[in-house]
């Protein structure tokens, strides 16, 4: 187990290193630079060059990369070229919106998908099971933006129960207001992701029904449903954890879109603005943090799997 953990950890670090090079190089390929944006329409080439020099953008790329990576080891992702503030600080500030949004979305997705997915599998062939399955298929195909719009129109504009956009200025100092402002965005992501997850839970459950140990349990006198719930669901849960790990990436992508739609000051919205402004140190930091997060989730899921599932431990 220790050897496995160390190997997996080394892979994680290698993944991060490769990602950092890819992020750095691909951003340099983008046309356009921040110096021209700061100087703006009405500036001369000399003015732009002066700004570029002041920001250190005229230095050789390997030197810029080494600087960045060097800082990384000290927990320093550099400073924004535009605002001059620390990238780590800004990430931490925006994470106050994006992390709760992600967790809430994931919770909603799980709450929707697990019971309904199992139910729809158990009711396979019956009208309600089919309706659930078809409904999930339809919901999973709904564009996130459209789902968000509908929720806003109903709950914010018509009913006036929840805010249509924005995050309270007081942030989490006003927890109720902060939570309220995240409900509609999280529902939007949660419903769409949950519908996708539901289909997965359903097929995993159906697979479990066919497994020998479930059949054996049923043969010993349990009803089919009892056998499934007692012996089949733990196996289903295991594969759901894996898929949830993958869902995290989907939720991050969803957050980028949803934060625009709901004007939430989170990491997704910051990323879009920073790419448009070519604030490269910031974009690098944001992308690396997001990549790192997804890689770490993958790492944790793998370890969890090994701890929970005796078959995998034996295999090694």
């Amino acid at each position: 187990m220790i050897r496995y953990t160390l190997t997996r950890l080394a892979l994680l670090l290698l993944g991060l290193l490769v990602a950092s090079v890819l992020i750095f190089v691909t951003l340099r390929v983008l046309p356009g630079d921040i110096a021209s944006l700061i100087a703006g329409v009405g500036s001369s080439t000399e003015q732009q060059d002066a700004i570029r020099e002041r920001l250190g953008l005229d230095r050789p790329l390997p030197a810029q990369y080494l600087d960045w990576i060097g800082g990384l080891f000290r927990g320093d992702l550099g400073t924004s070229l535009l605002t001059g503030t620390s990238v780590v600080d800004e990430l931490a500030q925006k994470a106050e919106v994006t992390v709760p949004l992600g967790i809430l979305s994931l919770l909603i997705a799980v709450v929707i998908s697990v019971p309904l997915g199992v139910l729809s599998a158990m009711r396979r062939g019956r009208a309600d099971g089919t309706a659930l399955s078809v409904g999930a298929q339809a919901l999973a195909a709904v564009p996130v933006v459209w789902a968000g719009m509908m929720l806003v129109v109903v709950f914010a504009v018509w009913l006036g129960w929840l805010p249509a956009q924005g995050f309270p200025r007081a942030g989490w100092n006003d927890p109720w207001a902060a939570l309220r402002s995240l409900i509609l965005p999280a529902l939007t992501i949660g419903i769409v992701e949950g519908a996708m997850l539901l289909r997965f839970v359903r097929s995993a459950t159906l697979q479990a029904v066919g497994q020998d140990f479930v059949r054996t349990a049923a043969a010993k006198g349990l009803t089919r449903d009892q056998a499934l719930i007692r012996h089949g669901l733990p196996v289903v849960g295991l594969s759901v954890i894996t898929v949830l790990g993958l869902q995290v990436a989907g939720i991050i992508v969803g957050a980028v879109v949803i934060e625009q739609l709901f004007s939430l000051p989170g990491i997704g919205r910051m990323l879009v603005a920073d790419v448009a402004a070519r604030d490269l140190p910031k974009v690098q930091g944001e992308l690396l943090a997001l990549t790192g997060f997804v890689l770490i989730v993958g790492f944790v899921v793998d370890l969890l799997h090994r701890v929970i599932d005796p078959r995998q431990r034996e295999a090694s």
Binding site: G32, S36, I51, A273
Partner: protein
């Protein structure tokens, strides 16, 4: 999907002015629609579109900064009204010598900065001198021919090497901003000015909050607090308005008029602006070097259809919009006539032309769609290259690597670009340059405007570019709000008179 949302968002940027001038009750102020008493403790939320990257008024370009900071936070010796008149600000009065070479301003007494430090004549001298001598500061070149700036008691005088009819106007903008000498403020995130509002909070990617400056030298602001909410998406902004989360929407889409007015809490207003939807022609080489081809393109475009599609704005056939001095109706220069366009192209031996239009991606697709179809009518295939703004700045603006380009030029009184052969317009006509120089040197306003008008006609007749439309300030104002300016608010938004009533 996200992309589509962002594009829709920017439709407002391409929005133009409306024929509904009756809507604007004489001038920049909206007619009070509210019957309730203004609440002095009110907080007014205004939706804006473009958020500044940072707040450094000295260096960072972009109208997003001028829009909120000038007049409200920072001030100069003089200011401009929404109607574009020059009025006193930190100077209570000024005189100009008959030869136009010396401007003497009388500085107000008792003005303090937001941090409590007093404003001294030396601060003015330092601010203007530093602005002039620091090329990295925005608009420093506008003070280039000021040879000396000196204080004598409360009087500050500027001496020029040659008359400059644009000096006072320039002093109403960034070039004239007065900062405290020796201030150590982090200008990127903080501010220290003399205006009626104090910057109290900035949450990047979200909102900026101004609170009333209780120590202000002039009439105090009507609202206790103004929150600028940056909501790029038009639909999200509409939802925010309908849910009662914002009081004013700026940069709105006139096509959404019915929806925003549906519940009676908002009224759409259209004010004039100096936004010029400019189709630039790179005329240094290639087919666009031929004046007949440029004229053909202009005559192939149905400008009225553009105004109709935007549901706001008016046509503009020359470089100078109606709000600026030197305006003249030039619709006779290039009237819509596809048949004439085809003939011109045949004459220039330029049939079956293929051209590329480079356009920043945040503009609505309305304009490129109309252009593609209009030009197709006369045998020109238009290839639309949508790029983000930083790419546009590098490729088109700096490197002049383009054929056709569309950008909304929002600045007021920016004729100088047509007199600068190095500008990305690539237009080079010594006669225009000479007329512009004469206009600058004129000591009489009417004479300066007349010279500009002559130069403007020449630019239009050379078909140096096409002006697709003169945009409008499209705003939706809550019926309990008074004092919201409606003219040119994308460029400058003075909020001192905005009041909100509970009624």
């Amino acid at each position: 999907m996200l992309r589509r949302t962002t594009l829709a968002t920017a439709a407002l940027l391409a929005a133009g002015l409306l024929a509904l001038t009756a809507c604007t009750g004489g001038g920049g102020e909206t007619a009070p629609t509210s019957t309730g008493e203004p609440d002095p403790d009110a907080s007014v939320a205004i939706r804006l579109v473009l958020e500044p990257g940072n707040l450094d008024i000295r260096e960072t370009a972009g109208s997003a900064l001028d829009q909120i900071l000038v007049d409200n936070i920072y001030q100069g010796l003089v200011a401009r009204t929404p109607e574009q008149d020059i009025v006193p600000a930190l100077a209570s009065d000024w005189t100009v010598s008959p030869d136009g070479l010396t401007y003497t301003f009388t500085l107000r007494e008792g003005v303090t900065f937001h941090d409590g430090q007093p404003l001294t004549p030396q601060d003015v001298v330092w601010s203007l001198t530093t602005r002039r001598d620091t090329p990295g500061w925005r608009d420093s070149a506008r003070l280039a021919n000021v040879t000396s700036i000196a204080a004598d008691g409360q009087d500050v005088s500027l001496t020029l090497s040659a008359p400059d009819s644009t000096l006072l106007w320039n002093l109403t903008g960034r070039a004239g901003i007065v900062l405290k000498e020796g201030d150590t403020v982090d200008y990127k995130t903080k501010a220290n000015g003399t205006g009626p509002f104090v910057l109290s909070d900035w949450r990047q990617g979200d909102s900026i909050v101004f609170t009333r400056n209780d120590a202000y030298w002039g009439d105090p602001a009507a609202a206790a607090e103004v929150v600028f909410d940056y909501i790029p998406d038009n639909q999200a902004a509409l939802n925010a308005a309908l849910a009662g989360e914002v009081d004013v929407l700026t940069g709105f889409d006139a096509n959404l008029q019915e929806q925003v007015e549906a519940n009676g809490d908002f009224a759409l207003e259209l004010g004039q602006s100096t936004d010029k939807g400019t189709l630039a022609f790179n005329q240094t080489s290639g087919p666009l070097a031929d004046k007949r081809v440029r004229q053909a393109i202009r005559q192939a475009i149905d400008h009225d259809a553009i105004i109709e599609a935007l549901a706001s704005g008016q046509t503009q056939y020359g470089p100078i919009p109606e709000l600026d001095p030197g305006y003249e109706d030039l619709s006779d220069v290039a009237p819509y006539d596809p048949e004439a366009a085809r003939e011109l192209l045949a004459e220039a031996d330029a049939e079956d032309l293929e051209l590329t239009l480079t356009i920043p991606s945040f503009y609505s697709t309305t304009i490129p769609q109309i252009l593609v179809s209009d030009l197709d009518e006369v045998g020109i295939t238009l290839d639309v290259n949508s790029v983000d703004f930083t790419t546009w700045l590098t490729d088109v603006y700096t490197n002049k690597d383009y054929e056709l380009s569309f950008v909304l030029h929002t600045e007021a009184r920016d004729f100088e670009n047509w007199a600068d052969p190095d500008y990305y317009f690539t237009y080079d006509n010594p006669e225009v340059q000479d007329l512009y120089a004469q206009s600058l040197a004129a000591t009489d306003e009417a004479e300066a405007a007349d010279l500009l008008q002559q130069a403007g006609r020449l630019v239009a007749e050379d078909h140096a570019a096409d002006w697709l439309y003169n945009g409008a300030s499209v705003i939706a104002v809550g019926t309990n709000i008074t004092g919201m300016p409606s003219i040119n608010v994308n460029e400058r938004l003075s909020i001192v008179e905005i009041a909100k009533s509970n009624g």
